[in-house]
C-alpha cells in the first residue's frame, strides 16, 4: 500500500492532510481557510495553528486537538510523523511522513524569505516532495519585500493629504506588512479594518512586535488624512472604504507582479509581498530536498511539472480542488 494517496490521504495512519471536508483525523499544515476547516474530529497540528484555528472557528471547531512542536516525532499507525517550519505564516508547517522505506514531505504553503517572528523554512530531505505551485511560473520572481514596504513608506511620506488604503489578507500578510513597515522605520499609528484585529492581537500575544495599531472608527477625519489603513481585499469596494477621502488604494500580494492585472483590479500602489515561494524558491527548494519525485498540489502546476521533468525528476500534478489562490494569502 502507498503511504500517501493523491488526495493526501495517509493510508497507514487513516488520516488526511489539509482535507477540505470534515474527517476523523486531520493533519493541518497551517490555519489558512483553504487548508484548515472546522468540523474534524481529531486535529494534529502545531500549537500556533491550533491557537489560530480556535480563535477563528471557536474552541469547538474540532473534538480533540493534539499540538506538536516543530521536529517532535509522533507515531501514527506504522508511520512516524513530524512537523517542520514552512515559513509561510505563524504556526505553518511541512509534514514529514516516515516509513522504514520512504520519506515523504508535504509542504503545505511555504516561502523561503525572512518573516519576523515566523520560524524560517527548513528543507527536509525526502524521496517524494509534495509542493505547492501558487507562483509556479518563471515570471514570478518576488522582489525584496523590505524594498516594497519602503515604497509604501515613501508614498505615505510624499502624499500626506491622502489616506493609503492597502488590501491585505488578515492572517499572515497583514502582520508581515506591518513588521516590514516598522523595519523600514514607519512608526506612525496603523489603522486596521475590524477583520484584521483578532489576528494582529494573536500575533502580538505570541511576541511579534507590531507597534501602535488603531481602529479608524476611533479616529477623526483629520487624523485619517495621510494615514495608513489595512483592510481585507473585499472591503476595498465596500461602503466601509468611503470614509476615506480620495484614498490611494494598494494591495500587498504576489499577484501584484503582473501590471496589467494590477490595473484591471484598479490598484494604484501594488506591493509585491508574498507569503508563497516564487519560481526561484520553488525550484531551489525542490533541489534542496533532494527528492527524486515531485507532486504538485495546486497553483500553476504545468510549468513546475515541466521544469521537474526537464531536470530529470519524476513529477505529477495533483490538481487538488478547493485550494483558493487568488483571494487567499498569496
Amino acid at each position: 500500500m502507498d503511504i500517501l494517496r493523491h488526495d493526501l490521504y495517509i493510508g497507514p495512519a487513516g488520516a488526511y492532510i489539509d482535507p477540505h471536508f470534515p474527517v476523523e483525523k486531520a493533519l493541518i499544515t497551517h490555519a489558512h481557510g483553504d487548508h484548515a476547516i472546522r468540523g474534524h474530529k481529531h486535529v494534529l497540528a502545531t500549537q500556533d495553528t491550533i491557537g489560530i484555528m480556535k480563535q477563528r472557528y471557536g474552541e469547538d471547531a474540532a473534538k480533540s486537538w493534539q499540538p506538536v512542536a516543530y521536529g517532535e516525532k509522533t507515531k501514527l499507525g506504522s508511520l512516524t510523523v513530524s512537523f517542520h517550519p514552512a515559513g509561510h505564516i505563524l504556526g505553518s508547517a511541512q509534514i514529514l511522513l516516515e516509513s522504514p522505506k520512504q520519506r515523504i514531505v508535504v509542504s503545505g504553503d511555504y516561502k523561503r524569505g525572512f518573516d519576523a517572528g515566523i520560524a524560517a523554512f527548513e528543507p527536509v530531505p525526502c524521496d517524494i516532495f509534495v509542493t505547492e505551485a501558487t507562483f509556479g511560473l518563471p515570471v514570478f520572481q518576488h522582489p525584496d519585500p523590505l524594498a516594497e514596504a519602503q515604497k509604501l513608506a515613501h508614498s505615505l511620506a510624499k502624499f500626506q493629504q491622502q489616506s493609503h488604503l492597502i488590501a491585505v489578507y488578515a492572517l499572515g500578510k497583514a502582520q508581515r506588512l506591518i513588521s516590514l513597515l516598522r523595519a523600514a522605520g514607519y512608526d506612525a499609528p496603523i489603522y486596521l479594518h475590524g477583520a484584521m484585529v483578532g489576528m494582529c492581537n494573536y500575533y502580538q500575544q505570541r511576541g511579534v512586535e507590531l507597534g501602535d495599531l488603531r481602529r479608524p472608527v476611533d479616529a477623526s477625519k483629520e487624523e485619517l488624512k495621510g494615514a495608513l489603513v489595512l483592510a481585507p481585499p473585499s472591503a476595498l469596494k465596500e461602503v466601509w472604504s468611503r470614509r476615506f477621502s480620495d484614498p490611494i488604494t494598494g494591495m500587498a500580494s504576489g499577484w501584484m507582479t503582473v501590471k496589467q492585472r494590477v490595473r484591471q483590479r484598479g490598484i494604484e500602489l501594488p506591493l509585491v509581498i508574498s507569503d508563497h515561494a516564487d519560481w526561484n524558491e520553488l525550484t531551489q527548494t525542490i533541489r534542496d530536498t533532494d527528492a527524486a519525485e515531485v507532486w504538485v498540489t495546486h497553483g500553476r502546476e504545468d510549468a513546475l511539472v515541466h521544469w521537474c521533468r526537464k531536470s530529470g525528476l519524476a513529477a505529477k500534478p495533483l490538481r487538488l480542488q478547493g485550494r483558493d489562490e487568488e483571494e487567499e494569502a498569496a
Binding site: 515570471v139 520572481q141 522582489p143 496589467q260 490598484i267 494604484e268 501594488p270 500553476r300 515541466h306
Partner: protein, 523 residues
C-alpha cells in the same frame, strides 16, 4: 531611468485623468533636462526606436529561458514586454543610464550590437525598469496617456493654455530645452524657426540587384531619375532663405539669382541643376557656378540654375518627416502649387510595373538623355537622417555590352503579336553557337518591321510560334550582370538583357565568344 520607470508605472496604474496629470506635472518639475524632454517625446509618441523589434527581444530572452516555460508565461501574462520584463533571470543591480542616455544609445548603436546592449541593461534593471525599457524600445506604451493629455499636463506645469502649447508644438524638437526654459519661467516663448537650421539629409544605398531586387515588390517603390547636380536643402521662412549643401554649408550667396525667387515657408530637399526652362545642362555647367562665390551677371546669364525638388521635411512649421513618402509628396506638390516659382519644379515619378520594365527605362534614359541612373524610394519611407537600410536605393547605370547572334525569334504579345519581336541570341563556343539570353525588342516600329521581314526571309525551321533563323544577324546586347547558371547550356545567364542595337554591318564571325562573356561574371 529609475525615476522614469516608476513614473511610467504610476501613469499606467492611475485610473484618474487628473491624477495622471498631477503625476506628469510633478515629473516635469523634478526631472532634469534633457530627461524630461525625452520623456515628453515618449509620452507624445514623438520618439520611436525603430530598430528594436519584438522579435529581437524574444530572441534575446529565449537564449536564457526554456521556450515552453516562456510560452506558458506569455499565455498567462498576455503582454510580451511584461513577460520579458518579469521572466528575465538575471538581476545584476548595475546602474542604468539616464533616460536620455539610454535612448541615445539605443538609437545610435549598430544593429549587430543591439542584442548585447539591451541584454546588458535588462540584467542591470529591476522588473519595473525592464518593463519601462522594453516599452520605450518598442514604442508601444499602452499606459493610457494620449499626446493631448501630456500636453495638457505640460500646460498646467508651465501655467499656460493648451492652445499656447499646441501653437508652438510643431516647431519644437526633442529634448524641448527652449520649451521647458519658457515653461520654467526662465526664458521668453521660443521662436519657431525650422528653416534656420540644417536638418541632416536622408541618403540612399547603392542597389545590389542580386541581393535587393528579389525581395522588393515594384508596387511598393517610387522611381525617379537620379539627377546629376548637387543635393541641396532649402530652408525658407520669414523672408529668410538658406540653401544648404549636403554637408550643411549654406551656399545661398553663390546663387542670388535663384534665392531672390524663393517664397513660402518650408524645408525642402532637392537637386540644384544648371539649366534653362527646366532643361538640365551638364554637371560641368553647374560646376562653373559652384566655383564662384560671387557670380557676375554674365555668369548668371550663361549658366542659370534651378532646383528640382525631391522631398519635403517641414510643411510650414510642421515636421512631416514622420509621414510616409507618398504623403510628403502630396504635401510637396500642394506647397509648390501655392508657391509657384519659375526656377523650381518637382522630380517626376516614373511609371513601371516590373523591374525588367524599369531596367529598360533606365537604359533608355541613360542612352537617350544621359541619365546616370535611377532613385528607388519606398513609398512608405519616413524621412530619416543618415543612410537607413532598405528604404532608398540608387540604381546607377552600369550596363555591359556584348555582340550576340540571333538564333530564334518568337511572336510578341498584344499589339506586337503579328511581329517576331521576342529574340533568343547566342555567342560562340568553339564552332558552335550557344544561347545566352532572350529579350524583347525595344526600338521603333520601323526597325521592328524591318527585323520581322529579315526573320521571315531567313527562317531555317519553324516550331509553333518560334522560328529558327540563319545564324547571321548580330545584336548588340546590353545587360546588367552575368551570373553562373546551371539551367542554361552556356553555364551562365545575362541579367536584364535588352537589345541595344542591330548590327546590320557586323558579320556573325565577329560576335563575342562564351569566354568573353564569362569574363563579366562577378567574382
Amino acid at each position: 531611468m529609475k525615476t522614469f520607470a516608476l513614473f511610467l508605472e504610476k501613469l499606467l496604474l492611475t485610473p484618474s485623468r487628473n491624477q495622471k496629470i498631477a503625476y506628469m506635472v510633478q515629473y516635469f518639475r523634478e526631472a532634469p533636462d534633457p530627461d524630461r524632454g525625452y520623456a515628453l517625446a515618449v509620452l507624445t509618441g514623438g520618439l520611436s526606436l525603430q530598430n528594436v523589434k519584438p522579435k529581437l527581444l524574444k530572441d534575446i530572452v529565449l537564449e536564457k529561458i526554456d521556450e515552453e516555460l516562456f510560452q506558458m508565461s506569455y499565455d498567462y501574462v498576455g503582454d510580451l514586454a511584461e513577460t520579458i520584463a518579469l521572466i528575465w533571470p538575471d538581476h545584476g543591480g548595475k546602474a542604468l543610464p539616464t533616460l536620455s542616455g539610454l535612448i541615445d544609445e539605443l538609437a545610435s548603436v549598430a544593429p549587430d550590437k543591439l542584442p548585447t546592449i539591451i541584454a546588458g541593461h535588462l540584467s542591470g534593471a529591476t522588473a519595473t525598469e525592464r518593463w519601462a525599457i522594453i516599452k520605450l524600445a518598442t514604442g508601444n506604451l499602452r499606459i493610457g496617456v494620449s499626446a493631448r493629455l501630456a500636453k495638457t499636463a505640460l500646460a498646467e506645469f508651465g501655467g499656460k493654455t493648451l492652445d499656447e502649447i499646441e501653437h508652438l508644438w510643431h516647431g519644437m524638437e526633442c529634448p524641448y530645452l527652449d520649451l521647458f526654459a519658457w515653461l520654467d519661467g526662465r526664458a521668453e516663448a521660443p521662436q519657431v524657426h525650422r528653416h534656420r537650421m540644417f536638418h541632416p539629409l536622408m541618403l540612399a544605398h547603392a542597389l545590389d540587384e542580386e541581393k535587393d531586387l528579389g525581395g522588393m515588390n515594384p508596387a511598393d517603390w517610387q522611381a525617379e531619375w537620379k539627377w546629376d547636380g548637387i543635393r541641396v536643402q532649402l530652408g525658407l521662412g520669414e523672408g529668410e532663405k538658406a540653401m544648404y549643401s549636403r554637408t550643411g554649408d549654406n551656399i545661398a550667396h553663390s546663387f542670388p539669382d535663384l534665392m531672390k525667387t524663393l517664397n513660402g515657408r518650408a524645408v525642402l530637399d532637392g537637386e540644384l541643376l544648371a539649366g534653362r526652362g527646366f532643361e538640365p545642362m551638364s554637371f560641368n555647367a553647374l560646376q562653373q557656378r559652384l566655383n564662384r562665390k560671387k557670380p557676375g551677371q554674365q555668369m548668371q546669364r550663361d549658366y542659370p540654375v534651378f532646383v528640382r525638388l525631391y522631398d519635403m521635411l517641414f510643411d510650414g512649421d510642421e515636421d512631416i518627416r514622420g509621414l510616409p513618402l507618398h504623403e510628403r509628396r502630396v504635401r510637396l506638390e500642394r506647397w509648390l502649387a501655392a508657391n509657384p516659382n519659375p526656377q523650381m519644379d518637382i522630380s517626376s515619378i516614373l511609371s513601371f510595373h516590373s523591374w525588367q520594365e524599369l531596367a529598360e527605362i533606365r537604359v533608355r534614359g541613360a542612352e537617350e538623355q544621359g541619365h546616370e541612373g535611377l532613385m528607388l524610394k519606398r513609398r512608405d519611407s519616413v524621412y530619416k537622417q543618415g543612410r537607413p537600410k532598405g528604404l532608398w536605393f540608387k540604381w546607377k547605370r552600369d550596363a555591359l555590352l556584348i555582340d550576340a547572334i540571333l538564333m530564334y525569334a518568337q511572336r510578341g504579345h498584344g499589339k506586337r503579336s503579328s511581329y517576331y519581336s521576342d529574340y533568343t541570341f547566342g555567342v560562340w563556343k568553339g564552332n558552335d553557337i550557344v544561347p545566352v539570353g532572350k529579350a524583347y525588342f525595344g526600338f521603333t516600329d520601323e526597325e521592328l518591321r524591318e527585323l520581322d521581314r529579315w526573320v521571315r526571309n531567313h527562317t531555317v525551321e519553324r516550331f509553333g510560334p518560334v522560328r529558327e533563323v540563319e545564324k547571321q544577324l548580330v545584336f548588340e546586347v546590353a545587360f546588367d550582370s552575368v551570373q553562373p547558371s546551371t539551367r542554361h547550356k552556356a553555364g551562365l545567364a545575362l541579367r536584364f538583357p535588352r537589345i541595344n542595337r542591330i548590327r546590320w554591318d557586323k558579320p556573325a564571325q565577329q560576335a563575342d565568344t562564351l569566354e568573353n562573356v564569362g569574363k563579366f561574371v562577378r567574382q
